[in-house]
């Protein structure tokens, strides 16, 4: 939802608006004055929201009777004076403790100093790698020195040695990426990820191995792909086939797959196939680069099935919330999800 569709209560709910009304600064003032000038049709909603925020008060306002106010004031000051002597007698002891604390601090800082030195010595031998990373909410296409194109999904990283082009074509993947590998029959292209290794000569395929997901997946679009993992028999995949590795069962299975479901992400398609809502939220966090916070007692037993192409987070949440019975509020990069009232 954009401000254009806001009702007065929506404005009241919006932190950025509230900030402007209660405690304006340069940023909020500049934004809202300009926004209001550009949207004269929202004048009434803004006016109502403003008045609500500014003029809300208790139906019954109280203040201490004057006599009582000064009575308590006197009592407090008197009590404070009576406590002063006691505090003075404690002072000497306080200094002794200070000395002890200083000595402890000295030991601790020596410890930290030594730790740092050891630490530096270790990192000096590290190999140089090039790392490309995408934060949540961002996708990125990378060209490797051999001409291979890699589209990196949100919240993923690709690492490869500086000597990549020299001979061995090897990359390390965390998260998800789609590869279009330049053909080179002499040098196989190897993708190493969490628990599987994918090896090809020249082809296009998708690898998904997010750290917090139980299943690792390789889906093949063209060419031939070899997938292997420790202690299991490697499998050979042909187009339209995928390999799924289950880290609990430690099994590698092959099956056919649906294109949109597995590779749709690179065309901006967000796809859920009867996924539990927790999983749906986790994917939305990565896709839109937001943090979704759930109400404590919320019960999300539902699974969700649906597809969105280049939709805003607001539209996606409103669609899922409608069928699954939750409410939400988007506040910048934070989303708060709570149960709808029955």
């Amino acid at each position: 939802m954009t401000y254009k569709n806001y009702s007065d209560t929506d404005f009241i709910k919006d932190e950025f608006f509230v900030k402007w009304v209660s405690d304006p600064d340069e940023e909020t003032d500049l934004f809202w004055k300009r926004w209001i000038a550009n949207h004269p049709e929202k004048r009434r909603e803004i006016e109502v929201a403003k008045k609500f925020i500014q003029n809300l008060q208790y139906a019954d306002e109280y203040s201490l009777p004057e006599k009582m106010f000064s009575q308590i004031h006197e009592n407090i000051i008197r009590f404070d004076k009576s406590q002063q002597n006691q505090r003075l007698s404690n002072k000497r002891r306080g200094k002794w403790w200070l000395a002890a604390a200083a000595i402890t601090l000295l030991f601790v800082s020596v410890g930290i100093f030594r730790y740092n030195r050891n630490h530096k010595a270790e990192t000096a031998i590290a190999v140089t790698y090039i790392t490309k990373e995408t934060i949540n909410g961002v996708k990125h296409t990378i060209s490797l020195p051999d001409g291979t194109k890699v589209k990196l999904n949100s919240g993923s990283s690709l690492r490869y040695s500086e000597n990549f082009s020299a001979g061995k074509r090897e990359v390390f993947l965390e998260g998800e990426a789609f590869f279009e590998v330049t053909e080179d029959r002499q040098n196989p292209f190897i993708v190493r990820s969490k628990d599987i290794v994918t090896q090809v000569l020249g082809t296009s395929f998708n690898v998904r191995t997010y750290k917090n997901e139980r299943l690792s997946k390789v889906a093949v679009i063209t060419g031939k792909v070899k997938v292997s993992s420790a202690n299991v028999k490697p499998v050979l995949l042909t187009p339209k086939q995928m390999a799924v590795y289950d880290q609990n069962a430690r099994k590698l299975i092959t099956r056919e797959f649906d294109f949109t479901e597995e590779v749709g992400w690179k065309e901006g398609i967000l796809n859920f196939m009867n996924e539990p809502l927790e999983q749906v939220f986790r994917e939305l966090e990565v896709w839109y680069g937001v943090k979704i916070q759930l109400e404590d007692q919320i019960s999300l037993t539902d699974v969700y099935k649906g597809e969105f192409k280049n939709e805003t987070l607001d539209n996606v949440l409103s669609a899922i919330g409608y069928t699954s019975g939750f409410q939400y509020h988007i506040e910048g990069k934070n989303v708060f999800v709570y149960q709808s009232k029955k």
Binding site: S7, D8, T9, D10, I12, K13, E15, V18, K19, S22, D23, R44, E47, V48, K51, F52, I53, Q54, N55, L56, Q57, Y58, A59, D60, E61, Y62, S63, L64, M68, F69, I72, H73, N75, I76, I77, F79, D80, K81, Q83, Q84, R87, N90, Q293, L294, E295, D296, Q327, H329, E331, G332, K333, N334, F336, Y338, K341
Partner: protein
């Protein structure tokens, strides 16, 4: 029960950092830097700062306390609160928000006393619908058109149909201008997210009440309800 505010319980109040949201931590820093230095001087034993704290907060605390407890009880609790501060001043640490600290201490004192009283005198549980009654005052600074006037009128009525807990949260947020973190501290709610949801729910209800029905009908309905 007199001096229950020890170092430990203060640390606990600030220990919900896992859920500490950064979006609004300093949304309304009331006294800001100045207040922090007054608090520091008070901790060092400065009498003028103590006096200043009392003078600037006594009436705010009283107004808040009176929303759910009677005159004598709130007065007692305010005096107790400042006695506690003096007693434990060398154990207290620098606080992020003096206001939230004072409000939460007062609230805990009042709740404890109310519970004790209701054990002794059975009927003493305050009618909770009389708690945190709200209103929207009309200032005559800018003349409002009929639509705006009506809308505010409905909002005023609708607010008082909310559960008292939601009303309290709303008042702490809009009227006392506390941040969500501070409200969590004051209302002893462990997670800041829960406070936000409390406020969002309240506003959802207002929206529902304001949404479907034609305005005049709604005024009639609410007038009848209240």
């Amino acid at each position: 029960m007199k001096f229950g505010m020890t170092m430990k319980s203060i640390d606990f109040l600030y220990s919900y950092s896992e859920d500490h949201d950064k979006t609004n931590s300093s949304l309304f820093s009331l006294g800001g830097k100045e207040e922090a230095s007054i608090w520091r001087d008070f901790l060092k034993g400065d009498e003028a700062s103590l006096s200043y704290l009392y003078r600037s907060y006594a009436n705010k605390l009283y107004n808040y306390g009176r929303q759910f407890a009677d005159e004598d009880l709130v007065q007692d609790c305010i005096q107790d609160l400042f006695f506690d501060l003096i007693k434990t001043r060398n154990k207290l640490s620098q606080t992020q928000s003096v206001k939230a600290y004072l409000f939460s201490s007062l609230r805990r004192k009042i709740v404890r006393k109310l519970k004790k009283n209701s054990r002794e005198v059975r009927e003493s549980k305050l009618n909770e619908y009389s708690q945190f009654r709200t209103s929207i005052v009309s200032d005559n600074s800018t003349p409002l058109d009929q639509f705006t006037e009506n809308r505010l009128h409905i909002l005023r009525k609708a607010c008082n149909t909310l559960p008292p807990r939601q009303r309290e949260a709303i008042m702490l947020y809009y009227y006392e201008q506390l941040s969500y973190n501070e409200i969590a501290e004051v209302m002893s709610i462990r997670k800041v997210t829960s406070v936000r949801i409390l406020v969002y729910r309240a506003l959802d209800s207002l929206k529902d009440l304001l949404g479907g029905v034609k305005d005049e009908l709604l005024i009639f309905y609410l007038a009848w309800l209240w």
